[in-house]
Every structure is written in structure tokens, then in C-alpha cells.
């Protein structure tokens, strides 16, 4: 009689893998959102693969993967600086190499850093700038409107340029800072990928919520697209309470990028 039940949510973890794309999700001590990121990959049609930060043979671990997500949380309790200790995890060297190195040249492995993952990518110098404490000094948790400024990256190609999306934002050290020269460079090269709309929630320079490397395969953002992928559990939207699934486009984008590459 399952057809009589209202379809509120599908809680099974074993959904159909639509693309065959394998997306690694890294877990550090203190990572919180790895399960959500893995679920977002599966809901988008890919196969999530768990990666452990202490993996010493990172090259082998990454060789069978099509993309990697460094999820949010408080790795190492944000001790020293957010992401500062995780950045030196054994697996990170392999990720930096697979992503195409720090010069951002070439088209390497698609890598997405969300929140603490973004902080780790800046500490690893895969992305420029850094994050400091929110200008109002408080932890903030809200549904946040963003504008997709660049839909040419591996992680945004399913969005329209200028498309506005709403996904949750939750952080303490979310204020993006970089020197003026770097900011101008990011703007000039179209590497500002997401911008806060309506309100700057943390004092980030130029309302920047997310950026990419020069090649567009590495993207980092503070807000959490993986928390807006399933109706009933996302932000409020025009379709009703908690019905927002705007974040799903990030994960379908990378699957499309991967499929496009193998064509």
C-alpha cells in the first residue's frame, strides 16, 4: 500500500546512480557536513565515495574519482585558524596535485570546498584570499540569497548567469578578505562565482560568497548548497516551506561537466 502514503521524502540512501560519476567526499576530524554532501551527490545522480583525510596513498584514492568535495564543519575545531591544520592532511597534497597545482593552470580534477572546505582551499593556496571572523562577531545561520556570477565553472554550469538562488549559510569565520589587487584580479577574470544578494551577512569584501581558480575547476563558497537539495528539507521557497532545492544545481553541474569531458 505504499502508493497511498504521501511522498514526503525518500529516506533511502541507495538511489539510482544515473551518471556513473564518482565524487569523493573528504572527512577530517570535526567535519560535519560530509553525509549531507554525499547525499547531495547521490540525489544529483552521482556516486559519492568517502575519503579519509589521513589517506597516505592519496594519488591512488583519487585516481578512480571524477571530482572531490571538501565539506563544511569545524575540522580540528578551527584551532589556530579555520582550515589551517586540515590543509596539511596527507590527502590534501594529492588533492592539490590533482586539481592542477597552485598556479591554477590546466583543467584538473573538479574540487569544491564548502564553508570549512573553502577555508581549507584558501589555506592550501588553491584559492586566493582568506576568511576572518564575521564582522559582527556572531555565528550566523540563515537562508541566504546568492547570485551566480559565473556559470562557466565545473560546479555552476547548470545555472544561468545572474541566476539568483537561496541556500543556507552557517558560519562564524565567513568574512572573505583579500588585498585589493587580488580582488580586482578575481573580478576582472570573472572568478567571483557567487555573490551575496540583498544583504552582506559577514562583511565579505565586495559581497563575495564564492570564487574559483583560473581554470574554473576549483570552486569554494561559504554558503551550503548541499543543505538545499531535497524538497521538505531546504530553505523556504515559492513552492512552499522548506521546499527550496536551489543547491542541487551545484552537484548536477559537476556531473554534467564530468559527462561532458568523457564525451
Amino acid at each position: 500500500m505504499s502508493t497511498d502514503l504521501p511522498l514526503i521524502g525518500d529516506f533511502s540512501t541507495a538511489g539510482p546512480v544515473l551518471t556513473g560519476a564518482r565524487v569523493g567526499v573528504v572527512t577530517f576530524p570535526g567535519t560535519l557536513d560530509d553525509r549531507d554532501a554525499a547525499r547531495a551527490v547521490r540525489l544529483a545522480g552521482g556516486e559519492p565515495v568517502a575519503l579519509w583525510h589521513a589517506e597516505t596513498d592519496g594519488g591512488a584514492a583519487l585516481s578512480s574519482l571524477d571530482a572531490v568535495i571538501i565539506p563544511g564543519g569545524f575540522s580540528y575545531g578551527d584551532y589556530l585558524r579555520a582550515g589551517a591544520i586540515s590543509r596539511f592532511a596527507p590527502l590534501m597534497d594529492a588533492i592539490i596535485a590533482a586539481a592542477g597545482g597552485r598556479d591554477g593552470s590546466g583543467s584538473g580534477l573538479p574540487v569544491l570546498g564548502i564553508c570549512n572546505g573553502f577555508q581549507i582551499l584558501t589555506e592550501a593556496h588553491l584559492l586566493p584570499g582568506s576568511m576572518i571572523k564575521n564582522d559582527h562577531l556572531k555565528f550566523i545561520c540563515r537562508d541566504q540569497a546568492l547570485r551566480v556570477e559565473n556559470n562557466a565553472t565545473a560546479w555552476t554550469r547548470d545555472f544561468g548567469t545572474g541566476e539568483e538562488i537561496t541556500v543556507p549559510l552557517k558560519n562564524q569565520d565567513g568574512q572573505y578578505v583579500a588585498d585589493e589587487h587580488t580582488l580586482d584580479e578575481l573580478e576582472g577574470e570573472g572568478r567571483v562565482v557567487f555573490r551575496y544578494v540583498g544583504w552582506n551577512p559577514n562583511g565579505s569584501r565586495r559581497d563575495i560568497a564564492g570564487i574559483s581558480n583560473a581554470a574554473g575547476n576549483v570552486v569554494g563558497l561559504m554558503p551550503h548548497p548541499e543543505h538545499a537539495v531535497e524538497a521538505g528539507f531546504g530553505p523556504d521557497s515559492d513552492h512552499g516551506m522548506r521546499m527550496g532545492t536551489d543547491g542541487l544545481g551545484v552537484f548536477t553541474s559537476v556531473l554534467a561537466s564530468i559527462a561532458g569531458e568523457t564525451k
Binding site: 589556530l80 584558501t122 589555506e123 559582527h136 583579500a178 588585498d179
Partner: protein, 94 residues
Amino acid sequence: MPTIVVDVMPKPEILDPQGKAIAGALPRLGFTGFAAVRQGKRFELTVDGEVTDEVLAHAREAAEQLLSNPVIEDVVNVEVLPDAAGHPAEGPTA
């Protein structure tokens, strides 16, 4: 055992939200006359053995690579701490 002190401060052009909050709290307690506050970090590296030039160089390297993030912070001081009796530090200083 000798100790090397490393002081790290937010770069002058970076807004220091914590320092700003402290600056706001001072006058409420009657501490007036302070125009601004900036908050940094102090690290104490206990050395196993003598502080040689090489050890001090390692401390400087660690300060640049791990203890500070050059995008937002400056290493403003690396020095050998005088011992408990107040004797000046042996070996090279910063």
C-alpha cells in the same frame, strides 16, 4: 628548556573584528584613552636542547608556514625567551 616566542598579528589593513569588540568594551569599564585595540596570537615553542641559529631559522619557517597565514597575518616577532631567573637568553636572538 629554552623557549622561542612567536608573535603573530593581523595585517594592519585587515579589519580585526575581535580587537574592535574589545575596544568597544574598554570604555564601558572606565578604561578610556585607548583609541584602538588589535588582537594577535602568541606562540611559545619549547626547544628540546640548545637554541642554535638553525633552530631559530626553523622556528621562523614554522611561523611563516603554519603559525601565520600571510594573506591576513604578519609574524611580528620571533625571539628566545629569557629563562625563569630573568637571565638574558643564551644563543642568538632575533
